[in-house]
């Protein structure tokens, strides 16, 4: 099978569908058309640039440059996590919790995959490192953003319950345990669902892309499994780290609930 190259016209047809959706949203007064068009335009610009950058990047193998690009990806993901919070932690914590959790999970799992599973030489071969890292960052970012948001908003609405437990002499860990568990669940359910239905209900995006681009289905399936496992582990570890750091930050050294460390908006 040969790779069938997509023309600008082909893509414009697909883009028309999004425009159609925007028109529908405008008619039904859903108020989503503006964000939808902005998001779609952003994806066009970002992916085109990525295509151009990757083309250049794949032709060379400078570790500092690849490291720099990885850090830029991490920073943008960290910012995105912060932007999606209804109640942000104030100060450096706002960006720090999400970014450090993503760094811990995405980077370590990508490195593990590169060193022991895929075994590329050198390990920082950009053709492998950048897509894997991007895939992991994108997914852990969602998990972390959802769990953290869930943690802080629930802590806010259930202030009375948390303090009622502190009053009874419970430790801060006991007082937040329910909320912590629910927050983690909310971050992990999407990846659990997508593993459950993978291949039966849905063909995962990456596998579809690979098959359309001409890979043998079995190879595509194996890579998809690798990615799914990595995403599950990455999202799990990342959300766990974020929820743990975040919940500890909600209390001070005297185990007082410190919602003043959150700012709204």
């Amino acid at each position: 099978m040969e790779l069938i190259s997509l023309s600008v016209l082909d893509l414009s047809l697909a883009a028309c569908l999004v425009v159609l959706l925007a028109i529908l949203s405008w008619h039904l007064q859903l108020g989503l058309q503006k964000t939808l068009i902005i998001a779609a335009s952003r994806s066009v610009i970002q992916l085109t640039l990525l295509g151009l950058v990757l083309k250049q990047l794949f032709q060379q193998s400078s570790l500092p440059l690849i490291g720099l690009i990885s850090l830029i990806m991490l920073t943008v993901a960290g910012y995105e996590v912060m932007a999606r919070q209804g109640k942000k932690f104030s100060g450096w914590w706002g960006m720090g919790i999400g970014t450090s959790s993503m760094f811990l999970s995405s980077f370590s799992i990508t490195l593990l995959a590169l060193f022991t599973i895929i075994n590329v030489d050198p390990w920082y071969t950009p053709q492998y490192l950048i897509p894997l890292l991007g895939m992991l960052l994108g997914n852990t970012m969602n998990g972390i953003a959802v769990s953290l948001n869930n943690l802080t908003t629930t802590a806010h609405t259930q202030k009375g319950q948390i303090e009622a437990r502190l009053i009874q002499g419970h430790t801060w860990q006991e007082a937040i345990t329910h909320i912590r568990r629910e927050a983690l669940k909310s971050g992990l359910i999407p990846i659990i669902n997508s593993m459950t239905t993978a291949g039966i209900v849905s063909l995962p995006g990456m596998m579809t892309g690979q098959i359309l681009a001409g890979s043998p289905p079995m190879e595509a399936a194996k890579y998809q499994l690798l990615i799914l496992f990595m995403i599950a582990a990455g999202t799990g570890l990342g959300s766990l780290a974020a929820v743990w750091i975040g919940s500890a930050r909600l209390f001070d050294e005297r185990q007082r609930l410190r919602l003043d460390r959150l700012k709204s908006g």
Binding site: G160, Q161, E163, A164, R165, L166, I167, Q168, G169, H170, T171, W172, H178, D252, R254, Q255, R256, L257, R258
Partner: protein, 194 residues
């Protein structure tokens, strides 16, 4: 004995007092005078400064959870985190009838309780882990006279067993019935009631 020296925060002026075992100390103040904040600060629920000690042991040397087990705050509004009443209690020998509650109440769901039942249960819950000091914040404000007197009788029997009670109440007759010491909190600070 509990001793409170120079307890203050950004939100209220320094407070000093001591209360011995079995004593009830009543506090009165206009709304907004900082009574609730004072009780919360004693229980170490909000940031505060000052030196507090229970039986000559400094609060700063005791873990916050252990301090709150011994110095337990009971707010005017109670909150519950499990589905059933009984799940909130550590001991199995709570005498529900002492406050006129059903013997089966441990099996009841929190959602079917009236606000008065919740308030009385919150008092039993606060006594459940046998604190040495109880901080009461307008706990009988939503109760009828009969239940108010039951609560007072229960507190009196606890006082006889050595409990220290610090009671914020706007009810003058109640303060008269209960207080060994009376204090007023206002914009000038915290002082003995004349």
């Amino acid at each position: 004995m509990i001793s409170v020296k120079n307890l203050h925060s950004a939100l209220f002026n320094p407070v000093n007092f001591e209360a011995a075992q079995g004593q009830c100390l009543c506090i009165y103040g206009e709304s907004g005078s900082g009574k609730t904040l004072l009780l919360r600060a004693i229980a170490d629920l909000d940031p505060n400064e000052g030196s507090l000690a229970l039986d000559n042991q400094a609060r700063s040397n005791i873990g916050a959870d252990q301090w709150r087990r011994q110095v337990t705050y009971l707010p005017a509004e109670s909150f519950w985190w499990h589905t059933r009443v009984g799940e909130h209690f550590e001991s199995n020998d709570t005498d529900w009838s002492i406050l006129g509650l059903s013997q089966q109440i441990a099996e009841w769901q929190i959602s079917r309780l009236s606000s008065g039942e919740r308030q009385r249960l919150a008092l039993l819950r606060a006594l459940d882990h046998k604190p040495k000091v109880l901080l009461l914040d307008e706990v009988t404000a939503n109760l009828d006279e009969e239940n108010t007197l039951k609560v007072e009788a229960l507190i009196k029997s606890c006082l006889q067993q050595g409990l220290i009670v610090i009671w914020v109440s706007h009810d003058k007759a109640q303060r008269k019935r209960m207080a060994d010491q009376s204090f007023v909190i206002d914009e000038t600070g915290f002082h003995k009631e004349a």
